[in-house]
Amino acid sequence: MLIHIGCWVCVVQIHFVILINRQGKVRLTKWYSPYTQKERTKVIRELSGLVLNRGPKLCNFVDWRGLKAVYRRYASLYFCMCIDQDDNELEVLEIIHHYVEVLDRYFGSVCELDLIFNFHKAYYILDEILIAGELQESSKKTVARLIAAQDSLVEAAKEQESSISNIIAQATK
């Protein structure tokens, strides 16, 4: 079923990002390589089985179908990214941490609950960090600035939903 995954191996650095909690509940998924809905369910099931059952002192990488799942646990949440065999696992581990730090800055001591109720915001932030499976921005400040710009726009939109010109003015000033 997942045999075709190999075809995209060289296209993207990160194939997908999955956030699951300790009970295996999905908190966020983002797919950079094409997977069908069925495959996605299977991937999550298989990976959560692999990752959640690993002992605490083992390394943060797991072989999975010829790819490598790099995971890292924060409190009750597992952040998991899937990469190619010969990529730099430590770097991906730090990309995860980078994302978490940005989330932390944004939410202010981020906890699982923030991600549960604001998963769309977590998506927006992820979109500023990773694009098409590549790390696009390594400066936390820049990410925060962009997200803040978007949010301020949203606020403005709420306040003055009628006047679009105002919104644009605010965004581009």
Partner: protein, 1046 residues
């Protein structure tokens, strides 16, 4: 800016020029930073923090407050002073404005109920119900846009949980058309999550994307570019390409960056569509914003990976950028855990590795900077190690430089000695890269490698196997492959099993010291991974058994075969053998089962019948078994012995005569026919051990000449070759039709005519043969595969003297496809018989069985006793000298066998092993490592003696030592501060527990800086908010509230 230069002089000057430009952005970054910080101040950073919903206030009264697992006394002691303050803030927040998390009650309820679902089934039920609701409500007329936005987010949620929300995709698409950026952004988010690039709805979005790319709001443009990366496919690239290219010069750096990424994505999808724009990537490398420059490295890396040559001129630029980055010339905001822009460094190192590989000149420029990075690496932080690892990879990939390699070896040993499994893993990986350049490196780390091999961590173990795979040579192949198979037996992961079994086979084929060993190894591989092994491997194995050494040593060949037969007879009774393996077994037993005279025909046939019965659902195995039976009977008849068919064989044959499978049926009939023949014809039909002999096919059909002549004399028309007949539309012969069919492309509209050349068939035998008449003639014109089935059809009608020809065909099936090797076998039936002495076989078999037994002993004891570890090290790493020795001895086979035995027999004699050449190679490194782990622990040995040695459990024995060593592994990541496990939200205000780990201080300090301010407030806010919404953090999951970074 700079194109490829041909003239070297000019190019050098241009290099400098370009260089200075490249430095430019990095030197002037302060300006941009000032600008950006000024900009930032105009945006409130954390404006989003949701305020508390009054709507759901009532739930506060009903629900009990969340249980706090951290004792309240302690809390108040610590934070007594702040308590009052908190209370006020909390009250304020609770009284605050409406909004909750910005979502409606319905949605919050959904999320809540999902969160409280106790099983997957319950969750599914809730989600399905939600889908029904959404389906109904989303099509209602005049839904307010805000409501619609929420529906879309609910759809995203449903889809995220693995359910199908495709009914709502179109609404998400519609939302992207909206003028309101708030809605547009939600729409884009949803479609990028919902749709793949080949979805039908994409076409409806392209227009919107086009329009949005031209928007004067840069956030709209950013959203559209994000969507571009995900949604634009090969066909739609031209529609947006001009806009994206224009955006490369957008005043906002965020837009430029995303435009680069989008262009990169387009290039990945359709290189031809954007190939003329590739030069843009070069230009953007000198963009004066570091984030744009960083983004540009992604496409450049891809381009260089495809073909490095056009980019060699950039080597100096990359090196100078890397140097500047490493010297902290980038803005502070790119620092990550005190490393200057590590992600950019890593990307640059990757690029340099590609550019420098196999290019001495280019590598020359890199040595200094890479060496500096390795030398100055920050080993205390994870990211420092990531950069160091990448630098090591780079050093291993580029043209070797001794100084650099020395530094790399040092770094590797630091990794391997580390307590962190992650670092060990990276060290093993780097070692695997480095041994390609300098194979002797592995020896220095042999004991560390063996430790990793015996580690309970599967990932580490597999990585080590990968390393071993890379360093396999003929001197250590036995040890390595044995280890691999032992590991393979104990895993369930079929994906990895396939991989490791194919590696075993590859190594065994490449380095096999003896055929006997090869066969035994193959047996083990087949036995345990049978159905995962490529069928070709089975054919190779059969060929090896049939062809033997390929030398003129029939004696050795027959020994080999006997040992194969014996091992198969031993294995055949095991339950559930894989089909491929059974095929090999049947074939070998059929060909050579009775050859030595040690086993009687009835014994072998009985075994074969057992196989056919036990695997009665597997037609292929049955076919192999029947064919093997036929061969054995044929050999018996040819040898002049009486054939008494066992009743169960008889029953089997009877059954197959009526089989639904034509193949099986045919084989059964053939078997019957063969048995009925006289010895002479049987011997010519199925000569003994002729599977390797080429069967000559007389393609000109010269034996028919007289027949044709006769027919011509009787007045028949001569045969006209097909190409001459091509004008004639009617092709009556089904043979030529079948040949013609695939090659003629168009449809044929005219009806098939009745065969015009009705009188022709007889005089032109090959073109058309009424099947009942000319059986042997038709044969050669079929391809080999079809041959058999055609025969099956003819079978019943023909007389016994024609069978000969047909059985040749059968032989051919067995013979040629799998044994197409050009070297013809030298063995002939007569010589074979002469060689088959029982005494020789006894010797061979005893050697082989002894070798197997003791080798398993060897592995049982190996992990427990340190001398064994040393021996393993010796057999793994001390191979260089050994290999040389072997090269001097002329006859490979016999010496090898002795060596195998000697290595293997050391095992039972535990400690004082005889000084072997292998051990001598260890020399100093062995002594150095004497203090490592269990090496010199006498109790360890006792333990080993006391314990009933089980091959599988031995890995666990190394557990205690290794785990005690790695005391604070994960602690590095601050992931599970065990002491703070139960901290609720308030725990976040205490200093980070993770900072106990000395390693983490940097990160912790950094984090606490960032979080301390809003911490208390946030925590309280969240708590009260959550209580209001009625999400009770029950004991089911108190962790929900724990700060991820806490």
């Amino acid at each position: 800016m700079v194109t490829i230069n041909r003239d070297s002089k000019i190019s050098r000057r241009k290099h400098q020029h370009q260089d200075s430009k490249l430095c430019f952005p990095l030197q002037f970054h302060h300006g941009t930073e000032n600008l950006s910080s000024a900009k930032e101040s105009s945006f409130p950073v954390f404006v989003h923090k949701p305020s508390i919903g009054v709507r759901i206030h009532h739930s506060l009264a009903v629900r009990p407050p969340p249980p706090r697992s951290s004792p309240p006394e302690e809390f108040s002691l610590l934070h007594f002073a702040k308590l009052e303050q908190l209370k006020t803030i909390g009250r304020e927040l609770a009284m605050g404005s409406q909004g909750g998390f910005g979502q409606s009650k319905e949605f919050l309820d959904l999320v809540k109920s999902i969160g409280e679902a106790r099983s997957k089934a319950e969750e599914d039920r809730i989600v399905l119900h939600e889908i029904e609701t959404l389906k109904r409500r989303i099509i209602e007329p005049d839904i307010p846009k805000r409501k619609m936005k929420e529906f879309i987010i609910r759809l995203v949620y449903v889809e995220m949980l693995g359910h199908n929300a495709s009914f709502g995709y179109i609404h998400a698409v519609k939302m992207t058309h909206d003028d309101n950026i708030l809605l547009k952004r939600t729409g884009y988010l949803a479609v990028t999550l919902f749709l793949n690039e080949d979805h039908d709805l994409i076409i409806l979005i392209v227009n919107t994307i086009q329009k949005d790319l031209k928007s004067d709001n840069f956030l709209v443009v950013c959203a559209a570019l994000n969507a571009c990366c995900r949604l634009i496919n090969e066909e739609t690239i031209p529609a947006v390409l001009p806009q994206v290219v224009d955006l490369l010069n957008h005043p906002k750096e965020a837009v430029r960056k995303k435009a680069i990424m989008a262009l990169h994505r387009f290039y990945q999808k359709s290189p031809s569509a954007v190939s003329h724009l590739v030069s843009n990537f070069r230009k953007k490398l000198s963009d004066n914003d570091p984030s744009v420059m960083g983004a540009t490295l992604c496409p450049l890396y891809d381009l260089i990976a495809i073909d490095a040559n056009p980019y060699k001129d950039l080597v100096i630029s990359f090196v100078s950028i890397l140097k500047q980055v490493a010297e902290r010339r980038l803005p502070k905001s790119y620092d990550y855990h005190q490393m200057p822009a590590p992600f950019i460094q890593i990307k640059l190192l990757k690029i340099l590795a590609l550019l420098g590989s196999g290019d001495k000149n280019a590598s020359g420029h890199m040595y200094t900077v890479v060496h500096d990075i390795i030398r100055k690496a920050d080993l205390s932080s994870n990211i420092g190690n990531a950069v160091l690892y990448e630098a090591m990879c780079c050093a291993a990939a580029i043209h070797p430089n001794t100084k650099l390699l020395e530094a790399t070896v040092d770094a590797i040993s630091r990794f391997l000695k580390s307590d962190s499994h992650n670092l060990k893993y990276m060290g093993i990986d780097a070692l695997g890269r480095l041994i390609k350049v300098s194979p002797e490196v592995a020896e220095q780390h042999q004991l560390a490698v063996i430790d990793c091999l015996e580690d309970p961590d599967d990932t580490l173990k597999r990585k080590t196997f990968e390393l071993l795979y890379k360093m396999t040579k003929s001197s250590n192949v036995e040890v390595i492959v044995d280890r691999m198979i032992d590991y393979m037996i104990n895993i369930n992961d079929s994906h990895y099993k396939t991989e490791i079994s194919s590696r075993c086979v590859e190594l065994a084929e490449q380095f096999a010291p003896s055929n006997q060993w090869f066969i035994q190894t193959m047996n083990r591989v087949f036995e345990h991974a049978g159905d995962l092994v490529n069928i070709k491997v089975a054919h190779n194995l059969m060929r090896l058994i049939a062809e033997g050494f390929g030398e003129d040593d029939d004696n050795a060949d027959s020994q080999l075969r006997l040992s194969a037969v014996e091992s198969y007879l031993g294995l055949i009774g095991k339950p559930k053998l894989p089909s491929t393996f059974l095929q090999v077994i049947c074939w070998v037993l059929g060909e050579y089962g009775t050859a030595c005279g040690k086993f009687s025909a009835s014994y072998i046939t009985g075994k074969l019948c057992d196989v056919a019965e036990a695997y009665s659902t597997d037609d292929t195995v049955k076919a192999y078994a029947v064919a093997a039976l036929m061969k054995i009977y044929a050999f018996e008849i040819a040898a002049g012995r009486k054939v008494d068919i066992l009743p169960e064989c008889q029953a089997l044959i009877e059954e197959q005569l009526a089989s639904h499978s034509t193949d099986l049926q045919q084989r059964a009939y053939e078997l019957q026919a063969v048995i009925a023949l006289d010895p002479q014809s049987v011997e010519s039909v199925l000569p003994f051990d002729a599977s390797c002999e080429d069967i000559e096919v007389d393609k000109s059909l010269s034996f028919l000449n007289s027949y044709v002549q006769q027919a011509l004399e009787k007045g028949a028309q001569p045969y006209i070759p097909e190409e001459q007949r091509s004008g004639i539309p009617a092709i009556s012969s089904f043979i030529s039709r079948s040949h013609h069919g695939p090659s003629s492309h168009g449809l044929r509209f005219e009806a098939y005519e009745l065969s015009k050349p009705v009188p022709q068939p007889k005089p032109s035998p090959p073109s058309l043969v009424p099947s009942t008449e000319l059986v042997p003639v038709s044969e050669p014109s079929y391809s080999r595969e079809t041959h058999q089935t055609s025969l099956a059809r003819l079978e019943t009608n023909v007389g016994s003297n024609e069978i000969k020809l047909r059985l040749d065909g059968v032989q051919k099936k067995w013979g040629s496809p799998s044994y197409s090797s050009p070297t013809p076998s030298t063995s002939s039936p007569s010589s074979q018989h002469a060689v088959n002495g029982v005494s020789q076989h006894d010797g061979a078999s005893s050697v082989s069985s002894k070798a197997r037994d003791s080798s398993s002993d060897y592995w049982k004891q190996q992990p427990k006793i340190s001398p064994e570890k040393q021996k393993l090290a010796a057999s793994l790493f001390g191979g260089i000298a050994k290999a040389e020795k072997r090269a001097t001895t002329s006859s490979q086979g016999p010496t090898k066998a002795v060596e195998t035995k000697s290595v293997v027999e050391k095992a039972p004699m535990a400690a004082p092993a005889p000084p072997l050449p292998d051990l001598l190679d260890l020399g100093e490194p062995d002594n150095n490592s004497g203090n490592s782990s269990a090496a010199s622990d006498p109790f360890k040995q006792l333990e080993g003696l006391l314990e009933p040695g089980q091959g599988t459990s031995c890995a666990n024995n190394s557990n205690p030592t290794s785990s005690s060593k790695d005391s604070d592994l994960i602690g590095l990541y601050g992931s599970i501060p065990t002491s703070g496990q139960n901290n609720l939200i308030f725990g976040s205000s205490t200093p980070n527990t993770a900072s106990k780990n000395g390693h983490e201080t940097n990160a912790a300090a950094l984090l606490s800086q960032g979080t301390k301010g809003p911490n208390l407030k946030d925590a309280l806010q969240k708590d009260s908010l959550v209580r209001q919404m009625g999400v009770t953090p029950t004991n089911q999951n108190p962790n929900l509230f724990k700060d991820l970074l806490g």
